[in-house]
């Protein structure tokens, strides 16, 4: 609607979405993302459905890990602890992403948001923030618990900043990928079954990066910061790609597939009149 009338009447135009108003746009995106995330959190606080499910699941997983792997030798713990951490994050993440979009599907509210003056990418960042909060929260429970259960994981206490950075970066990579596809499926039929089918293969690279970095931290690898840097790079790539792909994944292309029948008839008439 920001296109001048003269220009618009000349032919089909795309309303420009990027350009001069870039900075204002960015501020709007972050404000709207915050408002949407706050809305989700407000609903969550009413029944704590998601938080309780995720926390309880994390505790059950911890108890099972403790019973199954308590007697592992130290060398084996270095290999097992990263797997336990990121396996739990993957399951809690899937649970969270499914529930967040289920809520929207129940009352078809996501479609309402799509007709509101909301930047589509703000929906992505809003959902990402909520899922990240839940998953990082569960990770924050897992890490100290694993450190208490398995002596090798005591590194999490010894190097807390690196441990927190690792957890946050790993969760960002997982949730950034997961949110993109969970949103796409929220407006499609197929729903949760398809999400489970595609979520794990698509998030595997992020989880593998996080897993290898965690092992490097436990081993006291001298180049751990390089691993962390690589994980941050993965986050950046995923976030850029996801924010670029989010709108087409969510609503598909809005472009007509070809010239209208009237345009085709007109073109045929003009061609027929040519000598």
């Amino acid at each position: 609607m920001s296109v001048p009338a003269d220009a618009a009447l000349g032919g089909l135009v795309l309303a420009p979405r990027r350009g001069r108003a870039h900075a204002t746009n960015r501020a709007v995106v972050f404000r709207q993302a915050w408002l949407l995330a706050r809305n989700d959190l407000r609903q969550e606080l009413r029944d704590l459905e998601l938080v309780l499910t995720a926390a309880f699941f994390t505790l059950v997983v911890l108890v099972m890990f403790a019973l199954a792997f308590a007697a592992l030798p130290a060398a084996a713990q270095v290999l097992a602890v990263p797997g336990m951490l990121w396996l739990a994050v993957a399951f809690v993440g899937a649970l969270t992403l499914t529930r967040i979009f289920d809520r929207e599907r129940e009352a078809d509210t996501l479609r309402a948001v799509l007709t509101w003056p909301v930047e589509r990418v703000a929906i992505y960042f809003g959902k990402l923030a909520v899922s990240l909060l839940v998953v990082v929260g569960c990770g924050a429970l897992l890490m100290p618990a694993l450190a208490l259960l398995f002596p090798t994981a005591g590194v999490f206490f010894e190097r807390p900043l690196e441990a927190i950075a690792l957890l946050v970066l790993g969760c960002v990579a997982y949730c950034a990928t997961g949110t993109l596809f969970a949103a796409g499926l929220a407006t499609a039929s197929g729903k949760n079954v398809l999400l489970s089918v595609i979520l794990y293969p698509l998030t595997s690279p992020a989880l593998i990066f996080a897993l290898v970095s965690t092992r490097a931290l436990l081993e006291g690898h001298p180049q751990f910061s390089t691993y962390l840097g690589q994980l941050a790079a993965v986050d950046l790539v995923v976030l850029v790609l996801a924010s670029w792909l989010f709108e087409p994944v969510l609503v598909g292309s809005q472009r007509p597939h070809g010239p209208s029948p009237r345009a085709r008839r007109e073109r045929a008439r003009v061609q027929a009149e040519r000598p």
């Binding site: 618009a8 309303a15 309402a112």
Partner: protein
């Protein structure tokens, strides 16, 4: 001549080989209420969804005011409001919180007082702090309509807004629609309720087989009572066309 807030030209929509809409030409002017009539499955919701930017047309163009657009950006969506057949409310949030969310997202929030006035307009001021999930279907419908009025949009798209409303609710909605028309809003709604349509609309368009099959317009100064028979005739035309379509179907 003023430019219509909504102009659909040669619009078509196909799902694979199934043509749902064909060559639709429809304009809704400022201060005009246009009703879409037609049998179930004739394309009313699809047409409204395309106008609301939820669906892409397979062919043709959509223009909002002076600008023809392919994709509705945020600025375009600022100027329209859509009430779907389902109420699309956040069940855990109160009525006021449901309104506050959209108002804050728009950025031109009328303030808590303004939102309370909107609730009053649809007769829900007594339930402002109740969770929307505890509302009856009719109350939810009124709340959805109140939400659509936030920011005084130029174009209102309403998919069967009279659904689930009791007699009082229908009267409230009719008053709201007439007030919005007086404000200068362009309103496109779909309905099966011919009496309600006759009370508020200026023009009724019959969709059949994805095309505009017929339309009728209220004459200047024409009363509801005088206009109602023509609306009913259009509705009967719908029933007739539907029966004909059934007759044409081969026996199983």
């Amino acid at each position: 001549m003023s430019i219509a807030p909504l102009a659909l030209q040669d619009l078509g929509k196909r799902y694979g080989r199934l043509a749902v809409l064909r060559a639709i030409d429809l304009q809704v002017a400022s201060g005009e209420i246009v009703a879409l009539l037609g049998a179930n499955g004739c394309g009313k919701t699809t047409l409204l969804s395309i106008a609301a930017g939820l669906l892409a047309p397979s062919s043709g163009t959509r223009a909002y005011g002076p600008t023809r657009v392919v994709e509705l950006d945020r600025a375009a969506r600022m100027r329209l409001a859509f009430v779907a057949h389902s109420t699309q409310l956040y069940a855990r949030l109160s009525a006021l919180e449901n309104l506050e969310l959209l108002a804050s997202l728009r950025g031109d929030a009328p303030g808590r007082e303004g939102l309370a006035q909107l609730l009053e307009r649809v007769g829900l001021s007594h339930a402002a702090d109740r969770a929307a999930g505890t509302f009856s279907r009719g109350m939810q419908q009124r709340l959805a309509i109140a939400r659509a009025l936030i920011g005084a949009p130029e174009l209102l798209l309403l998919d069967e807004p009279f659904t689930a409303l009791d007699h009082a609710g229908r009267a409230i909605l009719t008053q709201v629609l007439l007030a919005e028309r007086a404000r200068g809003a362009a309103i496109l709604l779909s309905s099966h309720d011919l009496d309600a349509v006759a009370q508020c609309c200026d023009r009724a368009v019959l969709l059949a087989d994805g095309r505009i099959a017929a339309q009728t317009q209220r004459e200047r100064g024409e009363s509801d009572d005088a206009f109602a028979p023509r609306i009913r005739a259009l509705g009967l035309g719908r029933a007739h066309a539907h029966a004909e379509a059934h007759d044409r179907e081969p026996a199983p």
